[in-house]
Symmetry: C4
């Protein structure tokens, strides 16, 4: 039996593996190769009776490590955890860059999603921890004792009975202000309609009186009452908030803050508004922030896990969505321009109607409405050339709608699996 | 050879595992650690000749348990059944909370879907079982003997020949009542159109006669005939139903019950209806419940498995859909308000047309029709500012349509796999 | 050592498994249980020296079989092939109905898809095989020798050069007839428009001449020329078709056959058509079957694999699609009725416009156009009540669009994976 | 013990497998079968003491190979890498065509995606490599030294500070030319509107002056300034481009080249344009290529990985999309024709309105707008027959939108997984 046929026996965790020395010498410089050197028996745990080298390692992956020496390709079993593989390869002094490309697909996705998701999860709990830290730091002050209670009363509607009551009161005020907001639009519309008639159609209807902006005072008083409540609520939440900076970075809180002022401005400028009613319109416009308060209702419901994952998914693909909106904008410009020239060049000289667009901006508007398949029909192509352009726009719009679906789906599936897992993990740890 | 290098041999189900004692001492308090204690050989099945501890356990997962002692990370193979892992870990006295996060992903989803789906499956068979129980309890009464037959004749169209005949008769009556319903709308429309002309356009057409509501009597008699059949059918089904409460909780049955009355009311108030025709309109409106009977046709077809899974999926994500409808409602309010102020603020003073909306409610209507990409075109933005708002609404609508797809898909795939499996399981057990 | 601790050793394919006799006695009547009986050593291959029973079976699944005796739950590894498991369980005399539900999910889907797909694949090749059979049966007749060649020349455009030429000629004729079809519509439209003006608007335009249907004769002659070619082609294909019944069952061939007659009818009834021009319209309507010939172009292109899978997927879910169309029909009826009464009940008495619908059929039309999110805007709700109905219809429509996506996707993925596999299998066998 | 029960022991990589000789004789001509021949002990590595044949191969797949001899079906474990299986089967002299169909599904998809994706990846880097080659070839010329720097300054905005500045300047010029393009449309629209009025509506407005095309000269000068910059940029990029042919094959570069001329033509033909203004319209139309420059902005942003995968996916299914567009075209022709005859045949003789379509082309336009669910509402069916056609078109449109989703999704998921893997692989190799 010649030297190349010399065998070596490895006992890895109790399982005997047998191979030719020449096999192990395939990759010099690795731990397994050094076993073939003469002094190996002194360096490693060698049993001279059974002629085995013993390694206290898992036998599962060692088979694949050995295959690497035999076939020069490093593979791994299906769904291997990355960390396990790395630890095992590090022990045997093999670089994980040697892994065959087909096996990289078996390793990776879940890990990265897990990492991303963990970051999100940690964010959620910062507030509570910060509070606990604060409580520990200055334990005996009045504020420290009450802050957590008051804060959770205002921010966590399910934490206690008083929090629930507060949430219901808050909810009623929000619904109230939305109704008031809708009612107020009536006065503004009436003023506006009168105004438009006078200036624009003075020959049609002769109105003797100057139009003036008249808003029912009881509406303003009701609105003031609601805003006073919101002022109280906002200041409480701000005062007892454990992290002021984070509180102000939240766009919903900024909207809350801004929504406190319009009613005061209107109250102190009633005289001026009578003279300058467009200010009333602008103040009305600003009041749309009241509607943002409706988003707080979401807090009042315990959102199902699947929807929290959904919102997280949306945040994670915000960059991609912006990019797609840029492409939509480009398509809008492109098809709008095509439509503009298509209609101008294609229209027959004997055509006796109006062109229903007056500039290229309207064409851009048409393009967007067609691309999103809304299709109002206020602007439509009149010429065959324009119709061909419109047909392309409609087909591209159909394809554009489909683009974000796979991105969304792929990300969502990953995060959902992770979220379900995390939830089970928590429940399992609580037991 | 020092103590830390002392080896221990475990024979797990015939496979020898070999490791250093120090490895097993990593996690004190577990069964494997106790093997390193001096008196272990008396507690466990120790063979002094081969120096092996014998455990009559599966060798498959033991490799992973041992890796836990070696690397301090507990992993598991791909697609491990949760129950198998739990039983194995319990035997070796290790908590399953130690499992590495990357491996939780390998365990979980299928289990939970299976559990949810089982609940559904059990619901389906309650009725049959209840019937069987009833039959066993009072075996000799007349009702007990006939109830199952009559009940299945009325409820299960494929159970017997008489059931099939009954189903076809019932189907003809349903189609008949729907046709009658459509015919009746004509009289109502004519009355209404005449009425509208008189009050609203008295200057255009001079009608001498008082408009009066005239419905062909034969239609009413045909309807009465159908309703008599439905009354008979409903009372039979109610009388022989094994579970009255469940029967009444079914919304379709409630609709059936309510649909029995309008025709009688109309019959007994023909005089009054001549004078107060709006009652006829309301009675007509209530008769829309007749259409719900069409849903019974679904019962007459053996629904494919995939559609039963679909309907189950819908039920399971009803909460999420409600939530998304809330978000759609919020978007409607928000974009509607933006559109309202956008048009008012943006319209040029020299504009000489009508505003085509009269209050903010119409703007909300516009917003919803744009968000769902229906886009009737009855209300369209006239100003550039309004068009920008509309563009945002159209884009948001496009994104909103996409949101429920992944939720729906992820759930559906899980349930479908389970349903296919269940079906095979049943077929396999029948053999 | 008591009897319950008595051990038994199984050598399955060279791997030693060791267990207590009591473990094997868990399931009486199975092969493994019978090993514990006294006379087992004579029945099975028992080695008295090593005290092992030898079984020449795979060791892979035996671990799971043994686990079944230990834990009373039968599991299997991930992605096990069903046939392998069944064979192994049959050898050990265990029913496969014992498999734990969580493991059924690991076994099944791929098998069934493979079966379905195989059926499809076999259908494709029937024609060729039938031809070969025919050729073998009556080998020496003139027809038998030429039939395969002529048939493949007409049916398989890529089989030879002459087939390619024929396909191109056929294609030109198809394009020609479509252009002729479009040209012919002009004469029909002109006749119709004139006709409409005379009867309906006699007060507006006084036309002296009787309108008569005048079609350019050269169009009819060109059409006749094309149809003569199609007659030739159809008769050749029918005559040399190996399976006449299958040929006539194909709807495209029936359409081909029907499309041969309209031109002859018109040719022999030119006199009558002058007097009864509505016949011309009906003949024109029937000529739409010419357009179906365009579908043959698909045959001229080598369709990518993914699209053949797509068409197969469509065929396999045709039942589900019909079902969903029924639900759409129900929604149409339901929302149409709601809209009808919503508008009638909600309209203000002072409303001075026309109702833009005249009966409930128009409301059904409106409902369908809203549900599919087309939204023409010809009929729109005028009352708030009707708008609420329309809003529900729009939202339901949005949800209805989403329903078929997961069904389609789940089926498609399965078939696509199978198709890819089949393709590789074929290529691998050819090598 | 008879001959058929004669056992043979194989030591594959240290693991002992034991089987009957008869088992190995199942497939004559394979390596394992030859072991049963008398002279096998001299051909292979046979140990006479332990009576084992030794093979230095992986034991993982050998179990499956042995099962092939026992059950006559060749299976493989889940997610096996194709190359591993092929190598192993080749060693044991078994054809991989013997693999059971159910296991082909476990092998294939990932491999093919990897191959496709690699091709793409290699394309990306050709330019750099070509440059490096060029640099090596003529090392000392002036051009060779500067080319890579200048080229990367113009083509890779993130390569250096000067590249960033150049990119910003270029971006400003692009935005500038788009604004100029929009401004220029105004003059063209005004000319056109005046022109239309004169010829078409001479009776309405009497315009004394000949209309002439008047474009503000400063716009033309600004445009010229921008185009001069683009000329400079294009010539630099062309001159220093390492691969001229590839540069000219890029459609964006061709568009760049074409966009350089319109302004010069207009500049040198100002006289003629005054007389022949339709030329101005055509020159304006050609200028739409300016908008294509906006696509370069995408280069300025580091596109997220997911979007590069998206664009690659689109390229890979371009054939399928073309095919689906053909089907859409067929549907358009078919439903358009049905609509045409549906309206002509269905319209009531007493109908006193205009038909809103004048030829069949308009019907095709209607069909496309309905199929894409845009639904402008400019052409709507007036007859019940036409409405039924429209309903079918709307439903088919809804289904047509769904078709490309699964194709897109299946391809995207594969490529995305591969791309993520490649990225990790690169990062791992850099370390």
């Amino acid at each position: 039996m010649d030297g190349s046929k010399e065998k070596i026996i490895l006992n890895v965790g109790g399982i005997r593996h047998e191979m030719y020395c020449s096999t192990l010498r395939t990759f010099p410089g690795t731990k397994l190769c050094s076993l073939t050197e003469p002094h190996a028996s002194t360096l490693y745990d060698y049993n001279p009776i059974t002629k085995e080298f013993f390694f206290d390692r898992s036998a599962q992956l060692f088979g694949y490590v050995l295959s690497y020496y035999r076939t020069k390709h490093l593979h791994c079993p299906a769904d291997t955890c990355r960390s396990v593989l790395e630890e095992e390869l590090a022990f045997w002094e093999i670089s994980d860059a040697q892994l065959a490309p087909c096996c990289w697909l078996k390793l990776t996705n879940k890990d990265s999603q897990l990492e991303e998701f963990n970051v999100w999860d940690e964010n959620e709990h910062t507030d509570d921890e910060r509070l606990v830290v604060q409580v520990e730091r200055r334990d005996f002050s009045w504020r420290a004792r009450w802050q957590p209670k008051i804060w959770s009363t205002f921010e966590k509607p399910f934490s206690s009975l008083s929090a629930k009551c507060l949430a219901i009161i808050s909810l009623l005020f929000i619904i109230g202000i939305v109704i008031i907001f809708c009612e107020e639009t009536k006065a503004q519309y009436e003023y506006f309609a009168a105004n438009l008639t006078i200036f624009g159609r003075s020959d049609v209807i002769h109105s003797i009186h100057e139009p003036y902006y008249h808003q029912a005072p009881y509406l303003l008083h009701l609105e003031l009452f609601c805003v006073l409540w919101f002022t109280f609520e906002f200041s409480m939440r701000f005062f007892f908030c454990p992290d002021k900076k984070k509180f102000l970075r939240n766009p919903l809180n900024v909207a809350d803050f801004l929504s406190l002022f319009p009613v005061y401005i209107e109250l102190f400028t009633t005289e001026q508004i009578q003279k300058m009613p467009s200010l009333a319109l602008w103040l009305g416009f600003v009041r749309i922030v009241y509607l943002l308060k409706l988003l707080k209702i979401i807090k009042l419901i315990e959102t199902p896990l699947i929807l929290r994952v959904l919102s997280y998914t949306f945040k994670s693909i915000i960059q991609e969505i912006c990019f797609l909106l840029m492409i939509l904008a480009f398509e809008t410009l492109f098809f709008g321009s095509l439509f503009f020239y298509g209609e101008l060049l294609g229209v027959h000289p004997s055509y006796r109607g109006d062109l229903h667009f007056t500039d290229i901006i309207i064409c851009f508007w048409w393009a967007l409405i067609t691309l999103t398949t809304v299709g109002y029909g206020d602007i439509i192509p009149l010429t065959t050339f324009g119709q061909v352009m419109a047909a392309f726009a409609a087909i591209f719009g159909m394809l554009t709608i489909i683009i974000p679906i796979p991105i969304f789906l792929v990300k969502f599936k990953g995060y959902y699996a992770t979220a379900i897992t995390k939830q089970k993990l928590k429940m399992s740890k609580k037991q």
